[in-house]
């Protein structure tokens, strides 16, 4: 079975297309607005993080510069050189006490310092003055607790420093036994050699609680921003996951270039900055900004990378509001565009449909429906064209029908008298008979032949004969009822069908009246011509059951009337 292919109409397709364009346009606009807002948010977050990062680097450097100033100030203090160079126990003790007070004073004002020490170059780097910080406060370490530190880089590197330089250690976990608060904590050592002329006597070293500094740095950051710091190799010193900070101290390497592959170039290369969106283990997708900074005036490559990251979801949280608003606008505009599309399609399609209906009705011959001829656009022009076409067709059809009617009339009527001719008469008789057979109603036929007509024709010409025939016909028509049919069979023979007439008296009366009007003189060519007629009457069902029988019976009766003295009528069947 083949299903008919259903295709939407022009109006449907037009609506669909317009609606589609509308929805697509608003949807795409919305989508691009949304994605642009997202990328703008990410860019803004990156810039924000980068700026915050630069501020933090600045703060870190300021803090570090503060320590450098402190350690330099201490190194320049004459008491330190005195304590290191004094030979007598008393002089040395006095100087050390002074240094002691100096160190204690500094530790009291600088909570981020773990310990301040004066270390001699001699005696394997023996500590000479050492103030540690403890949970309970400051601890003056003395006597046996003093240790030899010559084998630590902050001692042997510092002692070898050229004048004017400050040693800054790599950040590391302090494993030096007896270091009090510093033990096991991330520590940074800053040291300056103490000179007596060209001779290096020892050094002063400040151990800095970098954990505290990092904490202070990150304290002002919003809680959703993660703070990261790495050493020059990329090992994390600060990481949101504490297990990843200083992992190298536990025999593991957790590197920034592994967590953020984009930073590989930064770790290997020169100081710079970088923003990236990456998957951070345990943190999900984050926006991150990194700044690599290198400390100045160092013989060693002391650089670090500071990083800040923020979950992408949080950065984009405000874009969800934008997204929802955009979605609402898109939906509203889509609905609007669908509505407009329907309206527009209707505006275009309705007059077309109007015309279509009109043409359909026109072609099926029904009454015409109005066309939108009053429109001033192309549709108006089309409507007017259709209208004039219809009118033209209408006119032609009317002329054609008129001709047809004339032809029909000519075919069924006598051209001279305008009476139905034999063909039409036989047709009507057949119909009347059929009706009579059904209803049982009788009918009667009057066969009329004019008397002396041939003589008038011969004497006065055919024109006179025609006048007589016409006059006679008119008179007969006037005598019978409207339902009765008067026909001319040809020549001077007429026949009348009297419908539903049975009463012989009535028929006789009609026949008599007919004879009277026939006997009236007819004025022809200034002469009163007298004619008459003979009438034969037959009836159904008495005189036959078919048209031929009935006509023949009337014909026979007419001849009887003619032979028995003209101007009279005879019934086909007798009186009985």
């Amino acid at each position: 079975m083949k299903l008919p292919t259903i295709r939407p109409g022009l109006g449907g397709r037009f609506t669909l297309l317009l609606a589609l364009i509308g929805v697509l346009a608003s949807g795409l606009t919305g989508y691009y607005a949304f994605s642009t807002s997202r990328s703008l948010l990410v860019t803004a977050a990156e810039q924000r993080l980068l700026t915050a990062n630069q501020v933090l680097v600045r703060q870190l450097l300021v803090t570090l510069e503060g320590v450098v100033r402190d350690v330099r100030m201490l190194a320049r203090h004459p008491l330190l050189a005195q304590a290191l160079s004094a030979t007598g126990a008393e002089a040395r003790g006095g100087a050390e006490e002074g240094v002691d007070a100096l160190f204690a004073g500094m530790l009291e004002t600088r909570p981020e310092y773990f310990q301040v020490r004066l270390i001699a170059a001699a005696e394997h780097g023996m500590e000479r003055v050492r103030i540690d910080r403890d949970d309970s406060g400051l601890v003056r370490v003395a006597g046996d607790e003093m240790q030899e530190k010559g084998h630590f880089p902050y001692v042997y590197e510092t002692l070898r420093l050229p004048p004017g330089r400050v040693y800054i250690s790599p950040p590391a976990i302090n494993h030096e036994e007896g270091a009090h608060a510093s033990l096991g904590k991330p520590t940074l050592q800053l040291a300056v050699p103490i000179r007596d002329g060209r001779r290096v006597l020892g050094l002063v070293v400040i151990s800095v609680d970098i954990g505290r500094i990092f904490q202070q740095l990150s304290a002002e950051l919003p809680s959703n921003v993660a703070f990261m710091l790495t050493n020059r190799h990329g090992d994390f010193l600060v990481h949101p996951d504490p297990a990843k900070a200083f992992a190298f101290d536990r025999g593991r390497r957790v590197l920034i270039q592994d967590e953020f592959p984009a930073t590989a170039g930064l770790v290997a290369g020169e100081p710079g900055e970088l923003v990236t969106v990456a998957d951070m283990p345990g943190q999900g997708r984050v926006v991150a900004a990194f700044v690599k900074h290198r400390l100045p005036a160092e013989h060693d490559d002391r650089s670090f990378i500071l990083g800040l990251s923020q979950p992408l979801a949080e950065v984009l949280a405000s874009s969800d509001t934008v997204g929802a608003a955009t979605a609402r606008i898109v939906v509203a505009f889509s609905v609007l565009s669908i509505f407009l599309a329907i309206l527009l399609a209707r505006a275009v399609i309705r007059p077309l449909n109007q015309m279509l209906r009109s043409v359909e009705r026109f072609s099926s011959g029904e009454a015409r429906t109005p066309l939108p001829v009053q429109r001033r656009d192309e549709i108006g022009v089309l409507a007017r064209s259709v209208d004039s076409l219809q009118k033209q067709v209408d006119g032609q059809m009317a002329a054609l029908q008129e001709k047809q009617r004339e032809l029909d009339h000519l075919a069924s009527h006598d051209s001279l008298t305008g009476l139905p001719n034999r063909r039409l008469f036989l047709d009507r008789l057949a119909q009347a008979l059929a009706r009579s057979r059904r209803t049982g109603e009788p009918l009667a036929l009057l066969f009329i032949d004019l008397d002396h007509f041939k003589e008038i024709n011969d004497r006065l010409g055919h024109g006179a004969g025609d006048v007589v025939l016409r006059t006679v016909a008119e008179r007969m028509v006037a005598e019978v009822r409207e339902i009765d049919t008067v026909a001319r069979l040809g020549g001077d023979e007429f026949i009348i069908l009297l419908d539903a007439t049975e009463d012989r008296a009535v028929i006789a009366k009609i026949a008599g009246a007919l004879l009277t009007v026939l006997a009236d003189p007819v004025a022809v060519a200034g002469e009163a011509v007298v004619i008459g007629g003979s009438i034969g009457i037959s009836g159904y069902p008495r005189d036959g059951s078919t048209a031929i029988e009935i006509i023949a019976a009337a014909d026979k009766a007419m001849y009887r009337a003619k032979h028995e003295g003209r101007n009279s009528f005879r019934f086909a069947s007798g009186e009985a």
């Binding site: 394997h124 240790q147 084998h151 030096e176 036994e177």
Partner: protein, 352 residues
Amino acid sequence: MLGTRRCALLLLSFCLALLPMPALQAAERPVLRVLAWPGYADPDVVQGFEQRHKVRVEVTQIDSDTALWQRMSANGGRDFDVFAVNTAELQRYIDGGMALPVDPAAIANIRRQLPRFRQVEAIPGLLRGGQVYGIPYTYAEMGLIYDRSQFVVPPDSLRALWDPALHGRVLAYNGGTHNFSLAMLSLGSEQPFALASGDWRPAVERLIELRRNVLGFYTQPEESVEVFRRHRVALMLANYGRQQLRLLRAAGADVGYVIPREGALAWLDCWVVASGVRDRRLVEAWLDYMLEPAVSDLLVSRQGLGSTIAEAAENRPQDQLRWLVAVEDYARRERLWARVISGDRLHRVLAP
């Protein structure tokens, strides 16, 4: 039409005939399950064995003693046919019944090994109850690296680390267990891994002397190379052996390597038959294959490790390697070392 159908039929039967063969072969191939360290059984090495013996080898890699123990003990050693472990660690696998003895006579290539690896009774931990439990495969020793330009005669003793003439130009390793052993060796002890009660004091004294003589102590190989170069170090104890030598040479240092006459501490990894062994002959074939020059040489060229069948260029046959064994008290060594490295003096180090 008929031709096409016949062709298709032929092709189909051809495919059917061919397809099951490799599948069947693969299913029938015996599997050798190997548990080893990275670099011991590289894919090309494994492929060579698979082709030669028409078997499939499943290599599982571990990168720490802990991971090795977890893998092996997970199922009583029955998940593997053969595994690689160092002689010190091997003991607990024997104790746990996860390692099985091996018959050296069944491994032809053992004759290729250097005498010091063939004399299994001289290697502590390989024998138990008169049976051999491991076939030595690779090792690394902790020799001395020296700057050729600073020595007329290369150092040949651990005592050079204590040489006052080299004060401030010596680099040592920051590790308590090994350092106590080294101290004992430098004192002439033959029992560096088992300190008697009377040995602690001299050992600590020796370590404090070492501390006072060195420039510093390193932890990482890269760190050692950096300090060595920057401070013109003359002598370094190479805890990472030839790996450090390669790094230094790559950095452009003119350095030599020597095994001190007291012997060098060394770890030795052996192939051991696991208790899960299914086909002993196949395991023996694997062990034999591992000792082929083409395979064992890769340890040297690719990993910087020692091969048991060829003497390293720097080593002499008389060099003594002191295979690491479990020490008497790891915790005490580390505790005392932490004090030594922190700079404490003798009585405070030895304080309870």
